[in-house]
Amino acid sequence: MFRYYLKLGMLSIRANPVLSTLMIAAIAVGIGACMTIVTVRHVMSGNPMEHKNDQLYHVQVDNWNPDDPYEDPDKPPEQLTYMDAKALHDAGRAFRQTTSFKTARVVQPEGDDARPFQQESRATTADFFPMFDVPFQYGSGWDRSSDVTEERVVVLARELNEKLFGGEDSVGRTLTLNDESYRVTGVIDTWTPVPKVYDLNNNPYEEPEQLYLPFSVAVAGGFDNTGNTSCWKPIEEGSGRDGFLASECIWIQMWVELQNATAKQDYLNFLDAYVEEQKLIGRFPRPMNNRLHNPAEWMEDREVVEEDVDVLLGLAVLFLVVCLLNTIGLLLAKAMRRAKDTSLRRALGASKAELFKQHVFEAGMIGVVGGVLGIGTTWAGLRGIENLYIEYEFVQHLVRMDWSMVLLAIVLAIVSALAAALYPTWRTCNITPASHLRLQ
């Protein structure tokens, strides 16, 4: 039966080449438009820390202005002050904890002709690497003791290691940053979390930093924060760098790793106790508002998916609807044109169910072909997006199709084609036997 339907389907597609081509093209284009945006959205809203989503938590406490919440409705600031980051980190109440900020260093390669260059860097603590499962090509992160002793150690990303050391195992080698010597402890393998979950405050869609060094070294050296700094209370006049560190300005991101729900509750209690204690010395004028967000919640809270993508997704779905309406109309036309055949088949004994199966099978064939071509149009659509954003290098990470998207494209095409075939098929099945033979 299967082969018979296949044969009938092929015959029917060949009998109306223009109509069939139009239908297949409409499905392919509709799927392409839809899947291009779905793919981009899928990548943008991905959770690179999904496997640890119930263990990692972003820490927030509310040290903001008593008269004016940081963000409506009554949200705490998204970063911490130095005082709080230091106190919470050093308390060590979580299984792992890390504080970090974005900075920049000037790398001075060895050799006389090598020109110094500036490198985006991250000042962080030892726990950062195991917490975010950073893969290492050589060596590892630094020890917790280096954080305490302010040891000048550094972790490089693969690309920077290739540039500086020709891709060799550079563990133990020395690197000069702003005229100071650092010891390399590890080289990170290819690692591009999308979005950059550990720091969503600036641009969530950019490459991770290429250089990592201890938070304590960066603070002691007065390294600039190149991410966002926000203040509500003026820094004490004439107090300089120390005044800034003792101020209510927020500029540090903190994450903790908590292994189970009890640990999470304990940590929340600890935060409450900490804020209560600070209130006694006149800080934290707002009501208690501590938050621990897991990566998925934090991405949701920071609204990492651009609004434009949602607008385009809506339009793309409507686009697919138009393509399907088009297909339904064309299928209907085709079915009506074949009314005579159908009528004859019914007269010769084909049951309604047989006819139904035959037509649905045919629609399915169109769906499969449309879906396969749809993968091609999606690919073309993604290349189009890539081209439009060519100046924004990171776009290459956002326009990648994975297997789940390929599968979804085909499934969507087949479902669309079958849905489109329902009404025309129903009309066909209701043709009475021999009714169309009378004319002759």
Binding site: A33, N65, E180, N326, Y392, Y423, Q440
Partner: protein, 403 residues
């Protein structure tokens, strides 16, 4: 003409016509709203920044020796820049419009740190800032050299004089009429600022910020190893001077690197990359959608002609002229299109109301819907013209033939 027969014939085969009408309606809804978004984006991209954009570039000097006399280096650099032939003026600043990164402050009408009444982008400049940026001073005067002070990275205390944009004045003093010069506001409880000048326009560095027209010039030179220079040149000298200046600054000191050398045009392109891409994507979507709907009309009309070959032959045999046959199909399409277009207009306005709510889009301009209606009517008539002409070519003799 023959509305009645056309309508009754359509009613005998509702399904196909209904599909085309719905298709036209959805096409219309997408078209109108996509156009509304495009219009909004192109308005956003068209706003001037206030700078002399075509003749301005910027670069950053990063000193990397821990102990550096950055004050001396900045003074030397500025002398060098200002004395370069072809350079109109140059200034050391923290940012410039379209750069997408900068400094903002909450402002208060009374001393205090409570809820701020307005906020503004801050540009730290000296008395050369006004000319370098190419701003139009509409009230008051420029900073005098004595009003410009040196400080570390952040102002401590804040300079007592500022130049604001007209838009910032309007936001700070909504009920005030007349000049803003001489008025005072506070950064916090003990840092007042006196307005000495007002410029017509100077955008904040963030083009998507709702307060993008609110900014101020603050007379301060910052002593820092990282310093950004903005350079304005005589028309036509920008590209050549950009290379030359980068070279001479790089050579003047080995203890720093020069980076982020970029024209304001390049900054503009980057700042509006997403908006430009959105306009292109939507243009593509609208064209493709109209083409698909047009093809759908052609397909269905051809089918309908083929199915009615005999009837057309009979009509021709009974005396209908060729134009009458063409008119029949054109009218049929006009009726279907009209149903689709009118429901499409309702759908489009509804979708727009939703988008205004959900994505804070500006509401539709009055003419968008009528224009879209006319376009879709024309598309329908053009699409049906081919099959209709084919139909009119059917010979009356067909009627006499039995199939």
């Amino acid at each position: 003409m023959e509305f009645g027969p056309v309508w009754r014939a359509m009613m005998r085969n509702k399904g196909g016509y209904f599909l085309i009408a719905v298709q036209i309606a959805v096409t219309m809804a997408v078209m109108v709203n996509a156009f509304a978004i495009m219009q909004e984006r192109s308005f956003k991209m068209g706003r001037p920044s206030g700078l002399d954009e075509a003749n301005t570039f910027a670069l950053v000097s990063v000193g990397f020796k821990p102990e550096m006399d950055s004050k001396a280096l900045i003074s030397e650099d500025l002398d060098l820049l200002r004395n370069t032939p072809g350079v109109i003026n140059a200034v050391a600043t923290n940012s410039y419009p379209l750069r997408q990164g900068g400094w903002s402050e909450g402002l208060h009408r009374e001393p205090g740190v409570g809820k701020s009444v307005s906020s503004s982008a801050i540009y730290f400049v000296d008395e050369h800032g006004l000319e370098t940026f190419g701003l139009n001073l509409i009230d008051g005067r420029n900073f005098s050299p004595e009003q410009v002070s040196w400080d570390k990275d952040s102002p401590d205390p804040w300079p007592a004089t500022v130049i604001i944009t007209q838009a910032l004045g309007e936001d700070l003093y909504p009920d005030h009429e007349g000049s803003y010069v001489g008025k005072t506001f506070w950064f916090d409880d003990d840092n007042p600022a006196n307005i000495v000048g007002v410029v017509e326009r100077l955008q904040a560095p963030w083009p998507s910020w709702t307060g993008v027209e609110r900014s101020m010039l603050v007379p301060l030179r910052r002593e820092s190893n990282d310093v950004r220079y903005v350079v304005r040149t005589e028309p036509g000298y920008r590209d050549q001077l950009m290379l030359q200046v980068e070279e001479s600054l790089a050579n003047s000191s080995k203890d720093r690197i020069i980076r982020q050398v970029a024209t304001v045009d390049e900054a503009r392109k980057l700042a509006y990359l997403g908006d430009a891409a959105m306009i292109k994507i939507l243009t593509f979507v609208i064209s493709l959608l109209t083409a698909i709907t047009g093809l759908g009309i052609v397909g269905l009309a051809s089918f309908s002609v083929a199915r009615r070959t005999r009837q057309i032959g009979i009509r021709r045999a009974l005396g209908a002229t060729r134009p009458a046959i063409v008119r029949y199909f054109m009218l049929e399409n006009f009726l279907v299109s009209s149903i689709g277009i009118v429901s499409g207009a309702v759908l489009a306005v509804g979708l727009n109301m939703f988008m205004v709510q959900a994505f804070s889009l500006t509401p539709l301009a009055w003419y968008v819907v009528p224009v879209a209606m006319i376009i879709l009517w024309i598309v329908g008539q053009v699409a049906v013209a081919g099959p209709a002409r084919k139909a009119s070519g059917i010979s009356p003799a067909i009627a006499t033939r039995s199939i």
